[in-house]
Point group: C2
């Protein structure tokens, strides 16, 4: 293969970095911590966006756009929020450059200093709630169900492509409601949308649950999360939905007149997923040959490679391929026909394996004679020869099967890597031996959570929504607990 | 009407500002010069994006994403570019805030000063060509046909919603080619895509042409533009496509090995349209009652308003409306049924007129009896009663007719406001009397162009692609000229 990958078992972290770069998903840029999302990677992100956007709209949301910059003072208005967000961020202090009097390029013009510094948004609750103040007077103005697709910046010191970058792309939903119940309902609704997307499009099983207080969003009363398991046994937080109570409404003085004409503060939620999902997608399914993409998110689902020795053979094959492509497209299947002369079939096979194309069709002169085509599945790396007659229906069913098989593999991996621990020793043994999710009792205190993190790096990923009542003892403190929570070492 | 607009004839500028705000397209934010694009405005922008994105992909382009920040030194690498772009811009100098020791919120942490300042991108040629350097080695790597949908920031002192804002949304295409011919072909191809979009989706006729040297993009060898005429007789530059020659390749040392193995510098284009198109759309078609949206870009094309006195009537009407909605949707027509009880039909009629919904259907008990519906066109403000039987086909044809009628109205306006001037006196008279486009001879010098601008505020909008050879004399200098150019006072 042209582009050798580090093997997953040898060095998982290096395997991931290699894969993201060599499969043309993304690369580091000249700006520290900021990535370039390359066309192939961006095509996957566009597929994600399209599905999520459809799901948001089907649940009653609309898109809008709010400013990139936030006045510094806005962050100080919500006490918890400023602690969590306003620190490591990009600060705009000036609005003009001028020619360097020494003739060496340009310098910042000291006379163009802003009166108040602007922060490049790390998240937009403050600027949005400052805007909502003018949109909301009465209960008739509620609910507001806005989403925004945007870039955000958090000045991370240690960055990794997709997983943690200074600038990333995301969507942030910000909703305003007349009642606590309605805001809570929205919070749950959106974590369910995220779980639906993760499982049915990314083919990635997730656990839905509450974050512990330690891990909550800065300014939230409750944070719901979806947690996925990567193939190295580490967890990846993949989406969050926050119940913000009346915190931002109070900070920005957003009140509405209820049906009785009395003023009340508005209830809020916010929820987001980001290009981090790209990292999750790569790490959840891929192998030593490259990406494994679920058909529903693959930029193209099928690639067709002709095997030929001369132009005559190629034109006969291409005529047949045109037919096949027409039939596949009619079923909504995306296809690429790679008849380029620059590379040999073997190189193309390896390249499309690296890129994770779910299904590869190869067709040569013998196939033409026999009315057959060779079909190779990316997920199982299996091959079969099938009749061209009825190929479109066959491929359609196969893509559905691949989608399910990828999900099942990830689901089975998670099942194998989800353990119960009832003692501290057991907990540490499991973590060391195979990692994964560990279901264990917790006394509910931040102190215990912090101690466990310090000693093992494991954190409480979530308190599952479907956690059953069960009497037990905290694995660390031995104090009573009435339900198990999910621990893991996380990205 | 609930929200009174300033009339267009009374104060065009105020009419525009009122309309943008009252039709819920956009509003000013707490951050100077940055706008909030409200859901209704954003829905129109999304329609624009979807069509343009489709057209870009059909012409072989792919999307990618490049960093928001550009190192300051990058701007100095292309001499003309730094003059045009690196001056009025947002400069990031620090990456951390800290708690104010005085306890008053947060302050910039002086110890977190960046070694090199980062500029929030005003346009991305520099960071992209710095990236392309690593993507291009051989002729086999060309062409690169990338587009990016992004936000950009230019620190404008006088801002107007959509037309000129500090932050705006846009797309910027950046292509790399092996030959000058191919790059030139791309430059023309994209200005044609823009003209196609403006005319067939925005219903806005445009003149395609070359910019004069004065008005060229900083760093370009040629800038092609589409110029539209607004209803106040002013021109609005609506999209540009730049032939950049080898300037950026040379500045960032991007060379490729040609088929003979020799190194050559790469040829470049860039092209963009922005949320400024929203301003163009508003100003090209709207009237004193509000927006007039071409059906192809309307968030919903049809609104249905029930006229009823009691719940019984409403439910009978709603049953019939459900049928109609189903049939319209089956034809791909977007419909909103507004049966809300909070507002009277008269208020709704005015509201949807303000919002520019192309077609309004009203249906009451009498209509139910007669099997009819009242149909009101937004563009002509005419009404007619038609049979419900066959309404879907009727509406489909009517929407097509509205699209064409809006275009024709704008086209006729432009024809009436396009004049030839052969003397300096004539030129000034026309400008003062009716504005619009003036076709006149020019001696080809920047000095003359500058003088005309100083004396009249009119600029050369473009040298039309289809300008005929014609001997004449420059209206200002009297020097010989061989073709007419298009002048106007512009936004």
């Amino acid at each position: 293969m042209a582009k050798e990958l580090t093997s997953k078992s040898e060095n998982y972290s290096q395997w991931y970095n290699d894969l993201v770069v060599k499969a043309d998903l993304a690369e580091n840029s000249a700006v520290r911590g900021c990535m370039v999302i390359k066309p192939y990677g961006y095509a996957i992100w566009e597929k994600m966006q399209a599905e999520l956007d459809r799901m948001f709209k089907e649940t009653g949301h609309v898109n809008a756009y709010f400013p990139l910059f936030i006045p510094k003072s806005f962050f100080s208005k919500e006490a918890a929020h400023v602690e969590g967000f306003a620190k490591e961020c990009a600060v705009v202090t000036h609005y003009r450059l001028k020619n360097d009097p020494d003739g060496k390029g340009v310098i910042v013009d000291p006379s163009a200093k802003l009166e108040e510094e602007l922060i490049v948004r790390p998240t937009s609750e403050t600027i949005i709630w400052n805007t909502y103040k003018n949109w909301i007077q009465s209960w008739r103005d509620l609910p507001i169900l806005c989403n925004q697709w945007a870039n955000v910046v958090r000045w991370e010191m240690r960055t990794r492509l997709f997983l943690r970058t200074a600038e990333f792309l995301w969507q942030e939903g910000h909703t305003a409601h007349a009642t606590k119940e309605e805001a809570l309902e929205e919070t749950f609704k959106m974590v369910n949308v995220y779980a639906d997307f993760a499982e049915n499009f990314m083919a990635m099983p997730v656990i839905k649950g509450h974050k512990s207080e330690n891990e909550r969003f800065a300014g939230a009363l409750d944070t719901l999360t979806i947690e996925a398991l990567m193939q190295d046994g580490k967890a990846l937080q993949s989406g969050t939905s926050h119940f913000l109570g009346q915190n931002f409404a109070k900070a920005f003085d957003v009140q509405f007149a209820n049906k009785e004409g009395k003023l009340e503060h508005v209830w809020a939620t916010s929820w987001g997923v980001s290009t981090r999902l790209m990292g999750a997608l790569v790490m959840a399914h891929s192998d030593d040959n490259g990406l494994v993409l679920p058909p529903k998110l693959a930029p193209f689902q099928v690639v067709i490679v002709p095997i030929y020795k001369n132009d005559e053979q190629l034109s006969a094959i291409s005529a047949k391929v045109d037919e096949i492509v027409g039939k596949l497209k009619a079923r909504g299947i995306s296809v690429k026909y790679d008849s380029s002369d620059a590379k040999k079939p073997g190189w193309k096979f390896a390249e499309y394996e690296l890129k994770g194309v779910p299904l590869r069709l190869a067709i040569g002169p013998r196939d033409l004679e026999n009315g057959t085509v060779e079909l190779a599945r990316r997920d199982l790396l299996t091959k079969e020869v099938v009749n061209i007659e009825g190929i479109d229906e066959y491929v359609e069913n196969l893509l559905e099967n691949i989608q399910q098989t990828i999900y099942k593999k990830a689901f089975d991996y998670r099942t194998e890597h989800t353990s119960k621990a009832d003692t501290w020793e057991e907990f540490k043994e499991i973590l060391a031996a195979k990692g994964g999710f560990i279901s264990a009792h917790w006394d509910g205190t931040s102190e215990t959570e912090q101690k466990i993190k310090e000693e093992t790096k494991a954190t409480i990923r979530c308190i599952p929504l479907d956690a059953e009542e069960e009497e037990g003892k905290c694995i660390y403190s031995g104090k009573p607990s009435n339900k198990r929570v999910i621990y893991a070492i996380a990205y």
